[in-house]
Amino acid sequence: MTCHDIDNLISSKPGNALPPPEAAAHLDTCDECRALIGVLNEERKLAGLPAVQLERIQASIVKTLKPVRPLAPASLFLFACAIIFLSIAAIGVIPFGMQGWGALGIGQRVAVFATLAGSAVLLGVSIVGQMVPGSKYALAPAGLPVGILTVLLILIAATFRPQADPGFVENGLTCMKNGLTYSIPGALLFWLLVRRGAILFPKLIGAAAGGLAGLIGLSVLEMNCSNLDVYHVLVWHGGVVVISSVAGALLGAAVEYIDRLKRHKVS
């Protein structure tokens, strides 16, 4: 048994439970581990909590106690997110057509749309998880929007090639405007959907919801924009996701600020 094994044991035993007998041999020979376990397992005497404090807390809660409707099941929220995403993407494709889809090679289609779908699912699951404090995560929600954006940009850089694009800024601005035209209503609908749960972490949920809305815009652009220049796709198509995520985070920060002001007034 090594010090690393002892670390695993310490973490897996709740509180100050004693180490199992199989650790004894290591502890006999390792001063550091013995000292560490001694400190971690020491009986801690913290001053007790005054009873009057508990009574005050109970009274303040009971005073405003009303029945509340718990949040709907996570599957329902995920389904609603999928419906919003697909509906807005479909609405976006109808007026502009599918020239982009036609221009893409099979490999590009698979790479781009599989990544978009995977990213949308990950962000949707993350948003729904963040609505409930203490949810279980396979990927830490704080880094997810940035991680997804990085993967998307790397994928675009690897999948597309530089091409002549005489109207880089002019065409690009049109694309960005088109993308945001579909991202903004998506972001508003996502916010309406998750607002009851966006209380503890509005910034994070805002960034994730903005990112998901940005993916709607990006999907619409990939379907209808036939410009395959890597710089055009990176800057103007990818920019839709960046702007949406940042706007979502800022909106979340504003909500957090307003909430803090309200609480400050109440207290």
Binding site: I10, E32, K45, Q58, A74
Partner: protein, 196 residues
């Protein structure tokens, strides 16, 4: 020997029922929840802050916040990670508030209360003295694991993280604590050696 931690099965069915009753506005459930959870939450704050008055304030804030977001609890989910996520959020908000205030005014520092030790003759520093030198995220993980007696999975949920990330933070913290203890013991042994 397999040393991987097994996630606990959350044997807190009683808490779950109490939370469901709390959502239905049962004052009895509120009383039991406050009575059962407050000492643990108080330890969570006091162990990290070392100041009883602040810990009591944050406990009050945490319950107000719990009350406000009680609809976000879903029946069947473990209660402790839900509660500690909120407590953690209150602590972070409080920390930010202090920073904002300290930039505007010169505060009179309140000396932290050093927790009483069980074994006064021990040469080792206390748990609170030791973890105080750890980075914030590591101190939080070690406190949740060893003071609040949460499992790895509960800590992962409470910190919006993964079990792997929690384990990594705990291992880094233990390693740092070992180094500190080694230095302490070395420092205590040195004068003895010099005296000889």
């Amino acid at each position: 020997m397999q040393l991987e931690a097994q996630p606990s099965a959350f044997p807190n069915a009683e808490f779950e029922q109490l939370m469901a009753r709390y959502q239905q506005a049962d004052p009895g459930a509120v009383a039991v929840l406050v009575e059962r959870l407050s000492p643990q939450l108080y330890r969570f704050f006091a162990s990290q802050l070392g100041n009883r008055a602040d810990a009591e304030d944050m406990l009050q804030d945490t319950w107000l916040r719990i009350h406000r977001v009680r609809h976000t609890y879903r029946a069947g989910d473990p209660v402790l990670p839900w509660v500690y996520t909120i407590a953690r959020r209150v602590r972070v908000d409080n920390y930010r508030k202090r920073i904002r205030i300290s930039t505007r005014e010169t505060s009179v520092d309140v000396l932290p209360e050093v927790p009483t030790r069980n074994d006064e003759t021990s040469s080792l520093p206390s748990f609170e003295e030791l973890v105080a030198v750890l980075p914030e995220s590591q101190r939080e993980v070690v406190t949740m694991l060893k003071v609040n007696e949460l499992s790895l999975e509960e800590v992962a949920r409470a910190t919006s993280s993964t079990v792997g990330a929690v384990k990594q933070k705990a291992h880094r913290a233990y390693q740092q604590l070992r180094n500190l203890l080694e230095q302490q013991q070395f420092a205590q042994a040195a004068p003895k050696g010099a005296a000889r």
